[in-house]
Subunit: 152 residues, 2 copies
DNA sequence: GACAATTACTTGCGTCCGCAACCTTTCCCG
DNA sequence: CGGGAAAGGTTGCGGACGCAAGTAATTGTC
């Protein structure tokens, strides 16, 4: 069985990609820290703010965030304690809990978002041409589609 | 202060990128699990295998892996217990410890590498054209360079 | 040549999160 | 309807890792 190694071009792409990802997430995390938010916390707030009624079922939120049920429970614990999110029981199905944005959460997100967006822009998009950004969208749309088509 | 939001193109690129990254790493992790290796463990073995004498100083390895000193100590503990790596004291500087690949580690890497490479190829490069791979290399080289130029 | 500053690594402690087990509620099907 | 299967969520447990503190060795400075 001939092992298909990576070509030099692929190797370069892969290494730069891997290294960029970890450095980038560390930098974004860092930029967000002054607001007392984790990147994960921020993602929760964003998802909720985009949802109807600013609320989502726990399991839907977990799926969206690629988090295990228990992981989401814990992450929410923190946000609830911080007063940014509240748990609301569903009247129609007594198994489900909604995670709902509070006023505090809405304010916090509005406060942090401009900085975070600037952070993404400065650290990621800054040196890239318009074409490259478009290409990037195409590439990762392909990757994402392929990944969801062939799950682990 | 006018907040510079993300354009639609940027938004698409960013979301696809973010989602791809987490799904991809989960998939790679999964593919590597049968060998009893974490993606992190695998990275250690690769770095060591590429180093002179198949050994590196702890602090250099930590930097390369973007890991804190304590994080590396713990990760190495596991690899040492598994017999894949050994700690070797430096004769010239008694503060430093080398992490050195053992025969078992070399064998394990040779065993896991083909599968891992196939995994990367199938899950990441599969649907991309030659040009896209090249472009990807350019893009993330730019990003990486920019990130190291402007540390957090 | 001694003492402060620096470097290399480890350990204690706390956080985040996944897995498995568990409880509750709802659904499905005969 | 009634009982088993499935779905939604939380908790106990354990692994991985970062930060701060601690130890040991080296370097730099006067």
């Amino acid at each position: 069985m001939a092992t298909t190694w990576l070509s030099a071009t692929e190797m370069r792409a892969w290494r730069n990609f891997i290294e960029s990802v970890s450095t980038l997430t560390a930098a974004l995390e860092n930029d967000l820290a002054p607001f007392g938010l984790t990147l994960g916390d921020y993602e929760v707030l964003v998802r909720l703010s985009e949802a109807d009624d600013e609320r989502l079922r726990m399991c839907d939120l977990a799926t969206a965030l690629q988090l295990s049920p228990s992981g989401l429970t814990r992450r929410l614990d923190g946000l609830v304690t911080a007063g940014l999110v509240e748990r609301v029981a569903s009247p129609s199905d007594r198994r489900v809990m909604f995670a709902a944005l509070t006023t505090g959460g809405r304010v916090k997100l509005a406060e942090a978002a401009p900085d975070h967006v600037a952070s993404v822009r400065n650290r990621f998009f800054k040196g890239l041409s318009r074409d490259q950004v478009g290409e990037l969208g195409d590439i990762f749309e392909t990757v994402r589609a392929h990944l969801t088509a062939c799950p682990s």
